[in-house]
């Protein structure tokens, strides 16, 4: 009984993963045209962030209001590579200094800064996509968790960091593209990422990476580390006095969340074709938390649905009734805290799952409840 509980996937998880895979790899690609599919691909990039938040906040109780920082850093690392490739001397020959990114030229910068140089290499850029945000998260994590900064203080400070980074990116427009961000990205090693074919392929790559992250998150949740995170959320001191260095676990999960967010950011850049500070700051960061909360802060599968639904609602409402959207989003923040704190996943396990189980029980009573009436057994006894 105990061992079966500790299996890597419970039946519920297995059904959840299966249904999600079906949705992402079969239903959406068949049902949607390329434009809409690309849009859903964009929504799914936020799911990476939401999965990371399930680990940090849902399991570990660490609320980061600065996940946009890691999403953005990942996205910018990718964008820098693509921008350098798009800024070949031929493509930029109308500029006063050909061969450098357009926004640098507009800001009277005449050569590519040193820290941009390594991003000529795709390998370096791909490593940087993960490593830069993770190192940044590690520094923040060490500084804060070693000194026992937690709870609302951690939330406020991560929010301040998101604000600082946004101001910095906007202020240094010669090096970062400023408020417009890094735009007009074209090719990846000569492969045009703007064509329909490329968009479909990128959608599937994105889906594949998302499942890889889901799998890693499941691995963490199912390991003893996952249970320690929950224990830390319940009674941090007890964990400490059971011989664990609590800070290390927090740093680990914060870095993991940052890595997931960074992958999402890089995939965002590839699919949408630009990256800007409007995905880094306070507002996008806190909206990422709501994706996770709507999906259910304890459920990694729920986080993906939360990301899809909230973003779909955002697109739909802000096109049709822009005024209603903010009211709706505000209401969602309140509702998800007051009325359904476990989000969609909670609603599912409270209302839908018991009904499904009930239906199963009615159909196959013997498999679920061996103690009660069992036709096969009765028949065997009758035969004796």
């Amino acid at each position: 009984m105990l061992l079966s509980k500790n299996r890597f996937f419970s039946t519920t998880d297995l059904i959840g993963f299966g249904l999600l895979a079906l949705l992402i790899f079969v239903v959406l690609p068949i049902g949607l045209d390329t434009f809409r599919l690309n849009l859903f691909g964009k929504y799914l990039t936020y799911a990476f962030v939401a999965i990371g938040l399930v680990l940090c906040w849902g399991a570990g109780g660490i609320l980061s209001l600065g996940q946009g920082v890691f999403f953005g850093l990942g996205g910018y690392c990718m964008a820098m590579f693509l921008k350098l490739e798009a800024s070949s001397p031929e493509a930029t020959k109308i500029q006063s200094t050909p061969g450098i990114p357009d926004f640098m030229d507009w800001n009277q910068i005449t050569e590519i800064p040193i820290w941009w140089q390594p991003f000529h290499s795709l390998t370096f850029s791909l490593i940087a996509v993960i490593l830069v945000p993770v190192i940044f998260a590690f520094i923040i994590g060490v500084a804060m968790f070693r000194r026992r900064v937690g709870g609302v203080y951690f939330a406020i400070i991560t929010q301040a960091i998101a604000a600082i980074l946004t101001i910095l990116i906007i202020g240094q427009q010669g090096y970062t593209g400023g408020v417009n961000g890094i735009t007009d990205l074209r090719t990846l090693k000569g492969w045009d990422i703007r064509t329909d074919d490329a968009k479909v392929l990128l959608y599937f790559v994105n889906g594949g990476l998302l499942f890889a992250c889901l799998f890693l998150a499941q691995l963490i949740r199912r390991s003893k580390l996952g249970r320690i995170l929950i224990a830390m959320r319940n009674q941090e001191d007890r964990v400490r006095f059971s011989g664990y260095d609590v800070a290390n676990f927090k740093i680990f999960v914060f870095c993991a969340g940052a890595a997931f967010a960074a992958i999402g950011g890089a995939m965002f850049t590839l699919q949408v074709g630009f990256m800007s500070p409007s995905f880094v700051g306070i507002v996008p960061s806190i909206e990422m938390v709501i994706l996770c909360a709507v999906g259910g802060r304890l459920s990694i599968i729920g986080a993906v649905y939360g990301a899809l639904l909230v973003n779909l609602a955002k697109t739909t409402f802000s096109e049709l009734f822009p005024e209603l959207w903010l009211l709706g989003l505000g209401g969602l923040f309140i509702a998800v805290v007051l009325i359904f704190p476990n989000g969609l996943a909670g609603l599912y396990s409270d209302y839908i799952e018991p009904r499904i189980t009930a239906i199963f029980k009615r159909k196959f009573p013997e498999s679920k409840d061996p103690g009660k009436f069992d036709p096969a057994k009765t028949a065997a006894e009758a035969a004796e």
Partner: protein, 308 residues
């Protein structure tokens, strides 16, 4: 960066920027006082605090319009009535919010943070629907216009002085309320031991509601003061919220003196640096310094060492 200026000029620059910093300080203090009451005394993070401030600013705007239309003779005095109205309107809304939202969440501070963020979005949209997306400004009465020349290089605007006097006055009032009145004693009793405070007959629910209301009311007055030096838009409150939180946290959440000291140092640092660096870099440096210090001293500047 100092080399281009003579000593006299540098002195004047520091004085002028210092004074500009004092106005920023006044807004910070007024914003932060309300927040410090709510966060320091109740442990609640109110992300909609900026919107309560803006509510006060809109109330001031409406009052000034009413006076201009119906009581032009008394226009020079409208501001005082506006301030009182702003306090009660923002405070009243605060009490309503406490009743409908906050009181269910006292044991979940992180959730309060999200719920009040939701509230701030709703309030912003309401302001936008009612007052329009454009920023509005009030007409400042004549006696507040102009500036006082101190020396031939240094002059200080009168509305700035007025806002500062206001900030000092309100700080004093809050201090008296928290530390000299029986109400303040009750609030502090509830903070320190909710169960015990309830047991000795303090109505904790009412105390919470009043505390939250007064915190929001002070934000409303901050909004009134804010109209003297800036224009009011639906999202203007959001611009200040992170800074204000840093002010409160930096000062040590439970200490009013700490709040004032940290508001002073942050606003002065930012204002003086702004002259020499670009505005955005000044802000980045200020915030970075604050975050850095908070990492070294997470309990804030003024906090007691207590048994956990």
């Amino acid at each position: 960066m100092f080399a281009d200026y003579t000593m006299g000029e540098l002195g004047a620059i520091f004085a002028m920027q210092g004074f500009a910093g004092l106005i920023l300080f006044s807004v910070f203090v007024l914003m932060a006082l309300g927040l410090a009451i709510i966060f320091g005394q109740m442990g609640v993070i109110n992300m909609a605090h900026g919107e309560f401030m803006i509510l006060g600013a809109y109330v001031t705007y409406l009052t000034s319009n009413l006076f201009a239309d119906y009581l032009p003779a008394l226009f020079s005095m409208y501001f005082f009535l506006a301030m009182i109205l702003a306090f009660f309107v923002a405070g009243g809304l605060g009490m309503l919010v406490e009743w409908a939202l906050i009181r269910h969440l006292y044991k979940r501070p992180l959730d309060t943070l999200l719920a009040t963020w939701g509230l701030s979005l709703i309030l912003q949209q309401i302001y936008r629907s009612v007052f329009g997306a454009r920023e509005v400004g009030v007409s400042i009465p004549d006696w507040m216009m102009g500036s006082l020349p101190l020396t031939d290089m240094i002059e200080v605007p009168i509305n700035g002085i007025f806002v500062m006097v206001l900030a000092v006055g309100i700080s004093l009032a809050v201090y008296i309320m928290m530390f000299r009145s029986s109400w303040g004693k009750q609030v502090r009793a509830v903070t320190q031991n909710r169960v015990m405070a309830g047991a000795v007959g303090i109505n904790t629910a009412r105390t919470d509601r009043l505390t939250f209301g007064i915190g929001c009311g002070v934000a409303g007055v901050a909004g009134s003061a804010f109209t003297m030096i800036g224009s009011t838009g639906p999202t203007a409150g959001q611009l200040y919220i992170v800074d204000t939180f840093l002010v409160v946290v930096f000062g040590g959440a439970a200490s009013l003196l700490g709040t004032i000291a940290s508001a002073f140092s942050i606003s002065q640092a930012q204002s003086v640096m702004e002259f020499f660096l670009s505005g955005s870099m000044a802000k980045v440096l200020t915030l970075l310094t604050v975050v850095g210090i908070l990492m070294l001293r997470p309990q804030g500047l003024f906090a007691l060492k207590l048994r956990k």
